[in-house]
Symmetry: C2
Subunit: 157 residues, 2 copies
DNA sequence: TATTGTTATACTCTATAACTATA
DNA sequence: TATAGTTATAGAGTATAACAATA
């Protein structure tokens, strides 16, 4: 990244210390590093972020595949692959839908629940490490500010 | 996104208000929205984030293509395409390297400088709008905390 | 022998189309 | 007519291989 870089949605690999770093650029940089760590941490448990997203949705109860795709913001063909993967790992399984014979109902298995707990524990550890530069109070304030920003983002796109 | 989602590097499209949102997940969410806005803003000026990154690097002076690729963290074939695009727009041009006959030297043109200024102005506006939920003081503190986090991230990967 | 630029190729992710079956 | 699931296909973005010219 060059010396006069500002927020651009683009991040180079090398990040020498420099004078001008806009807040938005910094945030993207940190978030990118965070996502990388989260994904690495998940990788060690053998699950992907997408797969984990499905397991999280399934914790609320069985879902139709189409509902899962809708909730997670992916198209149906992607969800087919995801549920296939979950079934191969034994973390979820398909059952015929009780009332709609077109649909399948995706269920969370016990192994899936265990993997879910494992993944979330790993993510919590990763997150604590990520925010270790902030005191608990600072981190709470940081969280509040992010909440405010998302609120505004949702109100006025 | 489901109700019990935590930081995972994955973000669904729909984001209903829910109880548990980890700080890391929130930050990724906001950063993702930020990047989307930055890219949309850039799109209106007709430049991509990657192209802008190259122009920013070129502001410090002419560069070899290989150095540009290195600095921006892309492989050389990608940089070939990027410089081609920049030349087509007239924002940069290749010249033979004065001492190394293998290399080309990429120069920023006046049109490139103008586009650079235009893009940065648009990004500044976008960023101000993005952080409008924070007071100037809060934003300054937010910035400091991010700086601290990046410092720690660089120290202990 | 290593580096520069380039082209060609492969791979990953995601998006779209098309099809069957049910509603 | 619309929806659910699936398969096949296409596209964007990125990574790798191979090459010629030069260091």
């Amino acid at each position: 990244m060059d010396e006069n870089e500002v927020a651009s949605g683009y991040h180079g690999r090398s990040t020498p210390r420099m004078a001008t770093r806009s807040t938005g650029w910094l945030m993207s940089l940190v978030a990118e590093a965070a996502n990388r760590r989260f994904q690495d941490a998940l990788h060690q448990t053998g699950i992907t972020a997408h797969q984990l997203g499905v397991l999280m949705a399934l914790r609320a109860g069985p879902h139709k595949q189409a509902r899962l795709a809708e909730q997670l913001g992916v198209v149906q063909p992607v969800m087919v692959t995801l549920v296939n993967e979950l079934e191969q790992h034994g973390w979820a399984h398909r059952e015929p839908h009780p009332t709609d014979r077109r649909a399948v109902e995706v269920h969370l298995t016990e192994a899936g629940q265990a993997k879910l707990s494992e993944a979330e524990a790993v993510l919590k550890t990763t997150e604590d490490h990520l925010f270790r530069a902030l005191t608990p109070q600072e981190r709470a304030t940081f969280h509040q500010w992010l909440e405010r920003m998302t609120f505004e983002l949702e109100e006025t796109p």
